[in-house]
Every structure is written in structure tokens, then in C-alpha cells.
Symmetry: C2
Subunit: 74 residues, 2 copies
């Protein structure tokens, strides 16, 4: 069976989200509010500590105004 480090992948995705957010000068609380997400949950997504669902990532992509695939360009 295929082995892989999912936490490391989630961390790289989280860093990507944070970079995209910082580029736009959006605070974590602002983005979280925009997408109807608790800011502490968005924080742990950015740290790669949450095995979030695809719907959460779709919301984040919409809030950042980027294509979904851009979040995963890691």
C-alpha cells in the first residue's frame, strides 16, 4: 500500500494558504469571517494540524479569490 506523510503535505498546503493570505494583506480573522469559518480553525488549517474537508478548502479559495487548485500548488 502507498505510504506518505499526510501531515507534511497538510503543512505545505497550510503555508501556501498563509502566503496567499499575507500577499493580499488579509488578516486571519478577516478571511475566517469572510468564509464563515472559526478563526481558530482556520489557524490550525494554516498550521497543517487539521485534516480539513474539501469544502473548507473550497471556501478558503473563494475567500482568497483564487482557483481551488492554486491552494494545492505546493
Amino acid at each position: 500500500m502507498i505510504e506518505f506523510d499526510s501531515e507534511q503535505t497538510r503543512q505545505r498546503i497550510g503555508t501556501r494558504i498563509k502566503d496567499l493570505r499575507d500577499e493580499q494583506g488579509l488578516s486571519l480573522r478577516r478571511l475566517a469571517f469572510m468564509v464563515g469559518m472559526d478563526h481558530s480553525y482556520l489557524s490550525i488549517i494554516e498550521k497543517g494540524q487539521a485534516n480539513a474537508t474539501i469544502t473548507s478548502y473550497v471556501k478558503i479559495a473563494i475567500g482568497l479569490g483564487v482557483d481551488l487548485k492554486d491552494l494545492f500548488d505546493i
Copy 2:
């Protein structure tokens, strides 16, 4: 707050996964086995009926031998 149709997005992602799988002549059961996933769960992911976690999509991308972002090129 941002409204969007997450089920439609999940369906488009599921169709993308199925297309990538079909291109490689991989059966659903074969891909599911390769990534250690129940084939019925992979089936509902392909139909867009599961709000799967990012780890599930990472496994599928690895099983298909594609970059994670390719699953979301929808």
C-alpha cells in the same frame, strides 16, 4: 458571507478523478486497494457525495501518480 455550491464543486472534482482513473485504465477497486481506501468510499467521492478530507485526496493523487493540484483542475 460567501455563498457557493459545494456539492457541485465536489461533483466536478469527482468527475476529474474518474477521468484521470479511466485514462490510466485503472478500475475503481484497483485504485481503492492501492491507496488503502474502501472502494465504496472512493465511489461516493467520485460521485461528489462525500465531503472527503484532504488526506483522502492526497492518497488518490498519489495512487493516480498525479500532483495534488491536478485533482482540482476543474
